[in-house]
Protein backbone atom coordinates (compact mmCIF):
# COMPACT_ATOMS: atom_id res chain seq x y z
CA UNK A 1 0.00 0.00 0.00
CA UNK A 2 1.06 3.59 -0.61
CA UNK A 3 -0.37 6.84 0.67
CA UNK A 4 -0.51 9.76 -1.73
CA UNK A 5 -1.86 13.29 -1.50
CA UNK A 6 -4.03 14.66 -4.31
CA UNK A 7 -4.45 18.39 -4.94
CA UNK A 8 -7.45 19.86 -6.74
CA UNK A 9 -7.87 23.26 -8.35
CA UNK A 10 -10.57 25.41 -9.94
CA UNK A 11 -13.82 23.54 -10.59
CA UNK A 12 -12.15 20.23 -9.69
CA UNK A 13 -11.75 21.50 -6.12
CA UNK A 14 -15.41 22.54 -6.05
CA UNK A 15 -16.53 19.09 -7.16
CA UNK A 16 -14.26 17.29 -4.71
CA UNK A 17 -15.45 19.67 -1.94
CA UNK A 18 -11.83 20.30 -1.04
CA UNK A 19 -8.43 21.19 -2.33
CA UNK A 20 -6.43 18.32 -0.82
CA UNK A 21 -7.21 14.70 -0.05
CA UNK A 22 -5.19 11.64 0.87
CA UNK A 23 -5.66 8.25 -0.78
CA UNK A 24 -4.37 4.78 0.02
CA UNK A 25 -3.50 3.04 -3.23
CA UNK A 26 -2.15 -0.35 -4.20
CA UNK A 27 1.50 -0.81 -5.10
CA UNK A 28 2.11 0.02 -8.75
CA UNK A 29 -1.14 1.95 -9.18
CA UNK A 30 -1.13 4.58 -11.92
CA UNK A 31 -2.75 8.01 -12.07
CA UNK A 32 -5.31 6.56 -14.47
CA UNK A 33 -6.25 3.76 -12.09
CA UNK A 34 -6.63 6.14 -9.16
CA UNK A 35 -8.67 8.48 -11.35
CA UNK A 36 -11.01 5.76 -12.58
CA UNK A 37 -11.57 4.22 -9.16
CA UNK A 38 -11.60 7.16 -6.80
CA UNK A 39 -11.97 10.45 -8.67
CA UNK A 40 -14.10 10.00 -11.78
CA UNK A 41 -17.45 9.58 -9.98
CA UNK A 42 -17.03 12.88 -8.15
CA UNK A 43 -15.22 14.91 -10.80
CA UNK A 44 -17.81 13.88 -13.39
CA UNK A 45 -15.50 14.58 -16.33
CA UNK A 46 -13.44 12.17 -18.47
CA UNK A 47 -9.77 11.82 -17.65
CA UNK A 48 -8.95 13.63 -20.89
CA UNK A 49 -10.42 16.81 -19.40
CA UNK A 50 -7.45 17.08 -17.02
CA UNK A 51 -3.69 17.29 -16.97
CA UNK A 52 -1.66 15.89 -14.09
CA UNK A 53 1.54 16.51 -12.22
CA UNK A 54 3.41 14.46 -9.66
CA UNK A 55 5.56 16.33 -7.15
CA UNK A 56 5.10 19.49 -9.28
CA UNK A 57 6.38 17.94 -12.52
CA UNK A 58 4.01 17.28 -15.42
CA UNK A 59 3.07 13.61 -15.59
CA UNK A 60 1.02 11.50 -18.00
CA UNK A 61 -1.84 9.30 -16.88
CA UNK A 62 0.26 6.10 -17.06
CA UNK A 63 2.65 7.37 -14.38
CA UNK A 64 2.99 5.00 -11.42
CA UNK A 65 2.35 6.65 -8.06
CA UNK A 66 4.60 6.03 -5.08
CA UNK A 67 4.25 6.46 -1.35
CA UNK A 68 4.42 10.13 -0.40
CA UNK A 69 3.74 11.46 -3.90
CA UNK A 70 1.78 14.66 -4.39
CA UNK A 71 -0.54 14.33 -7.37
CA UNK A 72 -2.21 17.43 -8.82
CA UNK A 73 -5.38 17.23 -10.89
CA UNK A 74 -5.16 20.17 -13.28
CA UNK A 75 -8.19 21.45 -15.21
CA UNK A 76 -7.71 23.58 -18.34
CA UNK A 77 -5.79 26.67 -17.30
CA UNK A 78 -7.22 30.19 -17.57
CA UNK A 79 -4.56 32.59 -16.33
CA UNK A 80 -3.82 35.96 -17.85
Amino acid sequence: MAKITALFFSYAADRMSGRRRQFDIGDGATIEELFDQALAPTLREPIGAFMFSVNADWADRKTVLHDGDELAVIPPVSGG
Partner: protein
Amino acid sequence: MDIVRLQSEPINIDEALQTLHDESCGGQAVFLGTVRNAFEGRESRGLYYEAYHDLAIKEMERIAEELAREFNIVHGVMIHRVGELVLGEAAVLVATSAPHRAQAIAACQAGIDRIKERVPIWKKERWATGEAHWHHDPANLGETLL
Protein backbone atom coordinates in the same frame (compact mmCIF):
# COMPACT_ATOMS: atom_id res chain seq x y z
CA MET B 1 14.72 36.33 -16.61
CA ASP B 2 15.14 38.76 -13.75
CA ILE B 3 11.77 38.37 -12.02
CA VAL B 4 9.31 35.43 -12.16
CA ARG B 5 6.70 35.69 -9.43
CA LEU B 6 3.17 35.03 -8.22
CA GLN B 7 1.89 37.56 -5.72
CA SER B 8 -1.27 38.65 -3.94
CA GLU B 9 -0.13 42.28 -3.73
CA PRO B 10 -0.75 44.78 -6.56
CA ILE B 11 1.83 44.81 -9.36
CA ASN B 12 4.39 47.60 -9.15
CA ILE B 13 5.08 48.68 -12.73
CA ASP B 14 8.00 50.89 -11.70
CA GLU B 15 9.81 47.82 -10.37
CA ALA B 16 9.46 46.22 -13.80
CA LEU B 17 10.65 49.33 -15.63
CA GLN B 18 13.69 49.62 -13.38
CA THR B 19 14.47 45.95 -14.00
CA LEU B 20 14.27 46.39 -17.78
CA HIS B 21 16.63 49.33 -17.85
CA ASP B 22 19.89 48.56 -19.66
CA GLU B 23 22.03 50.80 -21.85
CA SER B 24 22.50 47.95 -24.33
CA CYS B 25 18.74 47.84 -24.97
CA GLY B 26 17.00 50.01 -27.54
CA GLY B 27 13.56 48.53 -26.92
CA GLN B 28 11.36 47.81 -23.93
CA ALA B 29 7.92 46.18 -24.16
CA VAL B 30 5.41 46.02 -21.31
CA PHE B 31 2.13 44.11 -21.38
CA LEU B 32 -0.45 44.48 -18.61
CA GLY B 33 -3.48 42.21 -18.52
CA THR B 34 -6.25 43.99 -16.63
CA VAL B 35 -9.59 42.97 -15.15
CA ARG B 36 -12.50 43.81 -17.44
CA ASN B 37 -16.02 44.84 -16.44
CA ALA B 38 -17.61 42.29 -18.78
CA PHE B 39 -16.94 38.89 -20.28
CA GLU B 40 -18.70 37.75 -23.46
CA GLY B 41 -21.29 40.46 -22.98
CA ARG B 42 -22.08 39.64 -19.35
CA GLU B 43 -21.40 42.24 -16.66
CA SER B 44 -18.63 41.35 -14.23
CA ARG B 45 -17.49 42.76 -10.90
CA GLY B 46 -14.02 41.23 -10.80
CA LEU B 47 -11.90 38.09 -10.87
CA TYR B 48 -10.48 35.62 -8.38
CA TYR B 49 -7.24 33.88 -9.37
CA GLU B 50 -5.73 30.76 -7.92
CA ALA B 51 -2.51 29.00 -8.88
CA TYR B 52 -0.68 25.76 -8.25
CA HIS B 53 2.26 27.76 -7.01
CA ASP B 54 5.14 25.30 -7.37
CA LEU B 55 4.29 24.13 -10.87
CA ALA B 56 3.25 27.61 -12.02
CA ILE B 57 6.64 29.02 -11.08
CA LYS B 58 8.43 26.13 -12.79
CA GLU B 59 6.42 26.63 -15.97
CA MET B 60 6.96 30.41 -15.95
CA GLU B 61 10.70 29.81 -15.54
CA ARG B 62 10.62 27.44 -18.52
CA ILE B 63 8.86 30.14 -20.56
CA ALA B 64 11.46 32.66 -19.42
CA GLU B 65 14.25 30.40 -20.67
CA GLU B 66 12.46 30.04 -24.01
CA LEU B 67 12.12 33.81 -24.39
CA ALA B 68 15.79 34.36 -23.63
CA ARG B 69 16.78 31.69 -26.16
CA GLU B 70 14.35 32.57 -28.94
CA PHE B 71 14.27 36.36 -28.78
CA ASN B 72 17.64 37.37 -27.36
CA ILE B 73 16.11 39.51 -24.63
CA VAL B 74 18.44 41.10 -22.10
CA HIS B 75 15.97 41.53 -19.23
CA GLY B 76 12.54 40.17 -18.47
CA VAL B 77 9.80 40.26 -15.85
CA MET B 78 6.76 37.97 -15.49
CA ILE B 79 4.40 38.57 -12.58
CA HIS B 80 0.92 37.09 -12.09
CA ARG B 81 -1.51 37.99 -9.34
CA VAL B 82 -3.45 35.53 -7.20
CA GLY B 83 -6.46 36.21 -5.01
CA GLU B 84 -9.29 38.71 -5.39
CA LEU B 85 -8.91 41.45 -8.01
CA VAL B 86 -11.23 44.36 -8.64
CA LEU B 87 -12.09 45.91 -12.00
CA GLY B 88 -9.19 47.65 -13.69
CA GLU B 89 -6.44 46.00 -11.65
CA ALA B 90 -3.48 44.43 -13.42
CA ALA B 91 -3.65 40.65 -13.17
CA VAL B 92 -0.50 39.92 -15.12
CA LEU B 93 2.59 41.77 -16.28
CA VAL B 94 5.06 40.64 -18.91
CA ALA B 95 7.93 43.00 -19.65
CA THR B 96 11.01 42.54 -21.79
CA SER B 97 13.97 44.55 -22.99
CA ALA B 98 16.23 43.77 -25.94
CA PRO B 99 18.73 45.51 -28.21
CA HIS B 100 15.98 46.09 -30.80
CA ARG B 101 12.26 46.75 -30.50
CA ALA B 102 11.13 43.81 -32.64
CA GLN B 103 12.77 41.34 -30.26
CA ALA B 104 11.31 43.01 -27.18
CA ILE B 105 7.79 43.16 -28.62
CA ALA B 106 7.84 39.59 -29.96
CA ALA B 107 9.17 38.23 -26.67
CA CYS B 108 6.53 40.11 -24.70
CA GLN B 109 3.74 38.76 -26.94
CA ALA B 110 5.09 35.20 -26.73
CA GLY B 111 5.42 35.50 -22.97
CA ILE B 112 1.79 36.37 -22.31
CA ASP B 113 0.54 33.89 -24.91
CA ARG B 114 2.49 31.04 -23.31
CA ILE B 115 1.43 32.01 -19.79
CA LYS B 116 -2.21 31.85 -20.83
CA GLU B 117 -1.71 28.53 -22.58
CA ARG B 118 0.48 26.61 -20.14
CA VAL B 119 0.77 27.98 -16.61
CA PRO B 120 -1.51 26.36 -14.00
CA ILE B 121 -3.46 29.43 -12.97
CA TRP B 122 -7.26 29.65 -12.98
CA LYS B 123 -9.70 32.54 -12.87
CA LYS B 124 -13.18 32.74 -11.45
CA GLU B 125 -15.51 35.40 -12.80
CA ARG B 126 -17.52 37.28 -10.18
CA TRP B 127 -20.64 38.32 -12.05
CA ALA B 128 -22.62 41.46 -11.32
CA THR B 129 -25.55 39.20 -10.40
CA GLY B 130 -23.60 37.83 -7.44
CA GLU B 131 -22.90 34.46 -9.04
CA ALA B 132 -19.36 33.25 -9.65
CA HIS B 133 -18.07 30.72 -12.18
CA TRP B 134 -14.66 29.26 -12.99
CA HIS B 135 -13.58 29.79 -16.57
CA HIS B 136 -13.50 26.58 -18.64
CA ASP B 137 -15.83 24.75 -16.24
CA PRO B 138 -17.69 22.24 -18.42
CA ALA B 139 -20.70 22.63 -16.13
CA ASN B 140 -21.13 26.05 -17.71
CA LEU B 141 -21.39 24.65 -21.23
CA GLY B 142 -23.93 26.65 -23.15
CA GLU B 143 -23.22 29.68 -21.01
CA THR B 144 -20.45 32.10 -21.66
CA LEU B 145 -17.33 30.67 -20.12
CA LEU B 146 -15.75 28.31 -22.64
